[in-house]
């Protein structure tokens, strides 16, 4: 029942997104704009600040992710459909998982566009170790979205949610951004440092386990008014 409800929520979000393209277009547009602005600022005569590509990739993911997180629960707030979801005879944490999967899927699609763009604009060999990069992106995205989905749900009834979400989200997800940047930078070295990248992936995986467990544990009491 848990998995079924989570997948139903995910599928519903995908169907709505396929009709409106609202979150996808804003998230992708914002992320691509972010990368382009940094490319114009930091690339001069083909010379690039060391590790800039790694930092810009993760900044774009974090900023675009924040935008998507705000929208995903705004959709449930509009006609109070979140209350209808909470009334379903299923563990309420399944709604959290469904929403989390939707955000991860959306960010994964955005990352599929961002990685080639960063590779091109910053001459960064991001595809040198594709599996390790995919591991970093997946673990980092899940960690960022796990914390963000919980906070976005908590703030759904708050009038200051747009201001509060980044204020709450960024301090807690700083380890994710740092791990993502350092792990990606390790892969961009002339001789990619695989052990360091693996270490950061392991750290991100540990972060994911801790915060997903915490979110599953706290979602129901936080959602009951």
């Amino acid at each position: 029942m848990f998995a079924k409800v989570a997948l139903l929520v995910l599928r519903k979000d995908v169907v709505i997104e396929a009709k409106s393209f609202e979150m996808f277009s804003t998230t992708l547009f914002f992320a691509v704009s972010c990368v382009l602005v940094f490319a114009f600022a930091l690339v001069r005569d083909g010379t690039i600040v060391a590790d800039a590509a790694a930092g810009i990739l993760w900044i774009a993911i974090a900023f675009a992710g924040t935008l998507a997180l705000g929208r995903t629960f705004e959709r449930e707030r509009y006609a109070e459909t979140l209350r209808a979801l909470l009334l379903a005879p299923a563990p309420r944490a399944a709604i959290y998982v469904g929403k989390l999967l939707g955000i991860v899927l959306l960010l994964a699609v955005a990352e599929a566009a961002l990685v080639p763009l960063v590779t091109l604009l910053f001459s960064a060999p991001l595809f040198a170790r594709p599996l390790l990069l995919a591991g970093l992106l997946l673990a980092g995205t899940v960690g960022f979205a796990a914390v963000g989905t919980l906070f976005a749900a908590m703030l759904v009834r708050s009038r200051t949610r747009d201001v509060m979400l980044p204020i709450l989200l960024y301090p807690i997800t700083v380890p994710v951004i740092i791990a993502g940047v350092r792990g990606t930078a390790a892969l961009l070295e002339a001789s990619p440092d695989e052990p360091v990248a693996r270490m950061w992936i392991a750290l991100l995986a540990a972060f994911d386990v801790v915060f997903i467990t915490l979110a599953l544990w706290t979602f129901e009491p936080l959602m009951t008014e």
């Binding site: 029942m1 079924k4 409800v5 139903l8 519903k12 169907v15 709505i16 009709k19 409106s20 959709r75 509009y78 006609a79 109070e80 459909t81 209350r83 209808a84 979801l85 909470l86 009334l87 379903a88 005879p89 299923a90 563990p91 309420r92 009951t224 008014e225």
Partner: protein, 234 residues
């Protein structure tokens, strides 16, 4: 373990939001077959009471029992026995009527195809089933929302202003529907300001004001006069 209940009982229930008392020491019961009209002016605490009975809000103090058990003893199974039509309609505007009902039918583990077509028919929306809900009038959305709330055959039916946006014919159909539900053994609890429609429909009246239950009595004809007398007196 019985999966049904024949009454819902609130025992000295209060709900505070900071220093504001939305509901204060309410003790109240509703039984199978009752259509209880929850009446009171704006801000009386009707919606908060409905939210608490629907398990969406926790009482600050007091106890709510469904049959002989509390919500925590029922677990998620209790929610399959509750149908809520709130003031906001709990429908996704981008999705069609059929997609909305199918989503909620699946969420409740129903045989979606049969349940959805029957619900669309009852709502009179079969021909508009593929249209997005955002294109519907308020009355059409209200009819669809009512069917969404009743899709899973709830035992406890909670309605917050069920007649909003309905024309006379649709309001009459909703009244008939509520009578049938009560006759089938449901507990119907309805918050409304439409005293003319409530008159003759509700079997009991609970009047709340300032978060307090002022009266809980059998509904007799002349509801509006009785309501005015109670509200003016308090």
């Amino acid at each position: 373990m019985s999966a049904a209940f024949d009454r819902v009982h609130l025992d000295d229930v209060s709900r505070h939001f900071g220093r504001r008392r939305a509901v204060s020491h309410v003790t109240f019961s509703a039984r199978s077959g009752d259509i209880v009209g929850l009446l009171g002016p704006n801000g009386a605490g009707k919606s908060t009471l409905i939210s608490m009975i629907a398990t969406l809000a926790k009482p600050t103090s007091g106890d709510i029992r469904y049959g002989d058990r509390r919500a925590s003893e029922w677990g998620p199974a209790l929610r399959s026995r509750i149908g809520l039509l709130a003031h906001e309609l709990h429908l996704y505007p981008e999705l069609s009527a059929r997609q909305n009902l199918t989503f909620f039918a699946n969420l409740y583990g129903l045989n979606a195809a049969a349940a959805v077509e029957a619900a669309l028919d009852r709502a009179g929306l079969t021909e508009r089933a593929a249209d997005p809900v955002m294109d519907f009038s308020r009355g059409m959305r209200q009819r669809l929302a009512l069917e969404r709330a009743l899709l899973h055959g709830p035992k406890l039916v909670l309605m917050d202003e069920p007649f909003t946006g309905l024309d006379d014919a649709a309001a009459g159909m909703v009244s008939q529907r509520l009578r049938r539900l009560a006759a089938d053994g449901c507990i119907v609890l309805m918050a409304t300001h439409d005293l003319d429609l409530a008159d003759g429909l509700v079997t009991r009246v609970a009047l709340v004001r300032g978060g307090k239950l002022l009266s809980d009595e059998r509904a007799d004809p002349g509801l509006r006069a009785r309501y005015r007398a109670l509200v003016d007196r308090s």
